[in-house]
């Protein structure tokens, strides 16, 4: 029917167009009339339009035929070469287009552009996509030029050219970006053997590596390099020299391993940096840079985490706990298309079969009469036990840190005493999670919910440990601050004494400077804090690697080789091969990052160490997974787990920002080390820069803005905005739930109607159907008669 219409209208247009030039185009258009359905509808529109326009503009023949020609070509998407010739001949006759024609044309062009940009989303065959794309591109190119006639032609052409260049640039940049993504093949190998959930850990690791690389670039380029290149050289100042007392042992490996000795007085730590306001011929403001880089580390991380969360939230619009589609989802989304390995495929088939059988059993079983009270009691008991464990571990850490302070004063502290804190924290991190899992067996939750509880508890454990560690560290810092006052006095008097003595001995006007190694040094608390974090990170790395080596690799070797001469089947029973612990590893990564964020302000080199760690982790863990792990037997995913881990990361980011912000705001910096030495508070560097480097009015503006009278209303406004947005979000959620309920009810109703209809008296049904005919019921009488 459509084709006939097309052809008839083709003839109509033919007759109208025959008045003007382009009989050739008319024949061509007729030939092209046999096209797809979508063009047919436009054809009909055009056929209707033409006669009315004919009546309206019968005077301006030339104008109309040109318009018709253009529209005809729009809607039929005719051959490019022919249409250019006719269009050019037409446009060369006319200079200006009327407003509505221009608008219509522009709309067409916009539509075509939109089609081009969404071409890849269309569910067509490639051949069709390519041809439609070519035609759309030809159309856009031809008419963009024509649109540019009239006023603003040059500007329009320029805008188009810039837009095209921008598209090309974006495409090249995207190409370049995908080339830079490392380890794609490695992840694919892991994916094909273990499925997408294990691979998601490695994808997360790769993402963390990218973030850390950027942070490292920031710190290295803006803080470390300027100080090393343009600052005072090593050995020229007290803060950059190993003190005389320590010089004897400064190169020993054991001392270096503890990050004392030469490493302590290097650019890796806070204490190395000079507080000179500007350094070098560039007048680079290092203290300001140090402060701003510290803040931007947090700012960049925050931005990146939130952007990633927003992207994940867009994709997962569903709520995973929907019970409406259990079987449907099992059928259509349980096979993992990433699997590329026969063993894994076997495993997957087995787990899908088991899962179906379980669901069938669940479906057929009537509700078991559960003893609710017993279950509740057991759950409360389990939670109490776990809280006891958490408190116990927190106290243990506090105790151990306090003890390490007394150890550090001892002269010959053994290796164990020196590293006790790190060992205890790592051991707690290793043994508590399995303990929580065994206690959680009391609770008898659905596996998915049980996993969330487990993750939450491990999170609480790590958090508690970290904060206890920080508290103990704070005590240490306060002690050092007290000590500092004493040392400051000593240094002052020593320098004075040295000056006087040199004046007495020689007659030179300038006294020889005291050798930097001999100047009494204050206890640089910032460097101490930095060292603690670095040691914690290093020990964490070591413990992780050793756990993987022993827990996975040695275990696999044992099971494989000793199985021949063992009483029971090691591979099937205990201990068997290890499965890859996704959540444990992800949490470890998240907490490691939290420590990095906390420590990077006091130890700029920490981020570099972390980059190395992530790099080696990738290769090491890929190897370990492929060689010693087996795919999971029971595969279920904690739904939306991606966003769950990102949420954890965000939380850790805030929690690690707090201690750093506190120390910046309220603790005085050391008097003789670091870029802020000599100031009363670290943030004074900002005031100093504003006063000295910016014109006067900037300082005035800042002083007005920093007025509490302005800040408090601003905070109130933000609180109100949050409240309002929250209310709006809740309203949307409620509306959503209502709609869902309505849809559900409608479906139930229809199902009931159908079921009821099928069981009624066939005679009554016939009567009913005769009275109220509907497409569905028309089939029913036939069915009834068929019975």
């Amino acid at each position: 029917k459509n084709k006939e219409e097309e052809e008839s209208e083709g003839e109509d247009s033919c007759t109208q167009q025959s008045r003007a030039s382009g009989r050739k185009s008319c024949q061509r258009e007729n030939g092209d009339g046999k096209k797809a359905r979508e063009e047919g509808s436009r054809q009909r529109e055009r056929g209707k339009k033409a006669p009315t326009k004919d009546q309206k503009e019968s005077e301006n023949k030339e104008k109309k035929t040109k318009k018709e020609g253009k529209e005809g070509e729009d809607k039929r998407k005719a051959d490019r070469t022919n249409s250019t010739s006719s269009a050019s001949s037409n446009s060369s006759d006319e200079e200006s287009l009327s407003e509505e024609e221009l608008a219509m044309l522009m709309e067409e062009v916009e539509q075509k552009k939109k089609l081009i940009s969404t071409m890849r989303n269309k569910p067509w065959r490639m051949v069709k996509k390519l041809s439609v794309l070519r035609e759309a591109q030809a159309f856009v190119e031809k008419f963009e030029g024509a649109l540019g006639k009239g006023k603003g032609k040059k500007l329009y052409a320029y805008k188009m050219m810039m837009a095209k260049k921008w598209v090309k640039f974006k495409r090249d940049f995207d190409n370049f970006k995908t080339q830079c993504i490392p380890w794609e093949m490695k992840i694919k190998e892991v994916e094909s053997h273990f499925g997408s959930s294990v691979a998601s850990y490695f994808i997360f690791l790769r993402w963390m590596y990218g973030v850390n690389l950027v942070l490292f670039g920031l710190i290295f380029g803006l803080v470390i390099i300027p100080e090393v290149l343009m600052g005072m050289p090593y050995g020229s100042m007290p803060r950059k020299t190993v003190p005389r007392a320590e010089q004897a042992t400064a190169m020993d490996f054991s001392v270096l391993w503890d990050f004392e000795g030469y490493i302590k007085y290097s650019a890796l730590f806070y204490g190395y940096y000079n507080n000179q306001r500007t350094i070098g011929w560039l007048k680079y403001r290092l203290p300001m840079a140090y402060f701003m880089v510290g803040i931007s580390v947090f700012g960049y991380s925050l931005m990146v985490v939130i952007r990633s969360m927003a992207r994940n939230a867009n994709e997962s619009t569903a709520d995973g706990d929907d019970d409406n589609f259990v079987f449907s989802w099992k059928m259509f989304t349980s096979w993992d298309y990433l699997i590329g390995n026969p063993e894994t495929a076997d495993n997957k088939f087995a787990s899908i079969t088991t899962s179906f059988k379980e669901s069938i059993v669940d479906e057929q079983e009537s509700n078991k009469d559960e003893n609710i009270h017993l279950r509740r009691f057991l759950r409360v008991l389990a939670n109490v036990l776990i809280i006891c464990c958490l408190c116990g571990s927190g106290y243990l850490i506090y105790f151990v840190v306090k003890r390490s302070q007394t150890f550090s004063k001892m002269q010959n502290a053994g290796w164990y005493e020196r590293n006790e804190v790190e060992i205890v924290m790592s051991l707690l991190g290793m043994f508590c999670p399995p303990l929580f899992e065994t206690i959680a067996a009391l609770e008898n939750y659905h596996p998915r919910i049980g996993l969330k509880w487990q993750l939450g508890r491990i999170f609480a454990l790590f958090l508690g440990n970290l904060y206890t560690f920080l508290l103990a560290l704070m005590d240490d810092v306060n002690e050092k601050l007290a000590e500092e006052d004493v040392v400051k006095n000593i240094t002052h008097w020593t320098l004075l004494g040295h000056h006087n003595s040199s004046v007495e001995n020689g007659s030179s006007a300038t006294p020889p400077p005291l050798d930097p190694a001999d100047v009494p040094r204050g206890p640089c608390w910032e460097t101490t804090v930095g060292i603690e974090f670095v040691r914690l990170t290093v020990s964490d790395i070591l413990v992780t690697y050793i756990t993987i080596l022993v827990g996975d690799f040695v275990r696999a070797c044992f099971v494989r080789f000793v199985n021949y001469c063992w009483c029971w089947d090691l591979e099937a029973g205990f201990p068997s091969y290890a499965e890859f612990d996704i959540s444990g590893n992800v949490l470890g990564l998240v907490f490691n990052q939290g420590m990095i964020w906390m420590g990077s302000f006091y130890a700029p080199g920490l981020v570099g160490i972390n980059v190395l760690r992530l790099l080696t982790s990738m290769y090491f863990q890929c190897w370990a997974v492929m060689s010693s792990n087996v795919p999971h037997e029971r595969v279920f995913k904690a739904s939306k787990s991606n966003n769950f881990y990102m949420g954890l990361l965000l939380l850790i980011l805030f929690l690690s920002l707090l201690p750093v912000a506190y120390t910046i705001m309220s603790l005085p910096p050391s008097f003789d080390c670091g870029p802020f030495s000599g100031k009363k508070r670290m943030y004074e560097v900002i005031q100093e820069t504003i006063e000295l480097d910016f014109p006067l009015f900037v300082a005035k503006i800042f002083s007005y803005v920093a007025n509490p009278g302005l800040i408090i209303p601003a905070i109130l406004l933000m609180v109100l905005a949050i409240y309002y947005l929250n209310a709006v979000a809740e309203a949307y959620q409620r509306a959503n739930a209502e709609l869902k309920k309505k849809m559900q009810m409608q479906r139930e109703e229809e199902k009931n109607k159908r079921n009821n209809k099928a069981s009624t008296n066939p005679v009554l049904q016939d009567l009913e159907d005769l009275l109220t005919p509907s497409p569905k019921s028309e089939s029913h009488p036939k069915k009834a008669e068929g019975k």
């Binding site: 989303n121 065959r125 995207d174 989304t333 349980s334 096979w335 990433l338 699997i339 059988k357």
Partner: protein, 187 residues
Amino acid sequence: MGNKQTVFTAEQLDAYQDCTFFTRKEILRLFHRYRDLAPQLVPLDYTDRPAVTLPYELIGSMPELKDNPFRQRIAEVFSADGDGNMTLDDFLDMFSVLSEMAPRDLKAYYAFKIYDFNNDDYICKSDLEKTVNKLTRNELTPEEVRLVCEKVIYEADADNDGKLSLEDFQRMIVRAPDFLSTFHIRI
């Protein structure tokens, strides 16, 4: 990043980049994967768009597909002749839809076609039975299979015609949390 390749013209590569979710490098890599399946059949120069079709046996033996129980259906859906014999265009199309960047709706459309074994634009009971048997390698009893299929129709069939239409399927699958991550092949 110069135009050192001689397989496609620049326009062809740009067109492919517009029609798939792949970048230039990935398209070339896919071309070489396609060629590696049958180097003597596939020419190195595609500038004149030769009409080369590879038989299904070669496609189904690719490591990414050979363990997939639905590989035959996937090839049939994306091939022009409906028998699984694919040209390079079909090959690119297939991996583009199955890639990470494809949106949910597009994947749902093609997933529907894959699971519609008899190509009648509805997923009927027999299609469901075939799906379950492929997923469990015939390990379930016929009674269990019947139960599962009935449950699926009960859950997802919204217009009550005893089979799943495209709208039913899309409505159901769009809300599945695992769909995007499982209906994905990395190449």
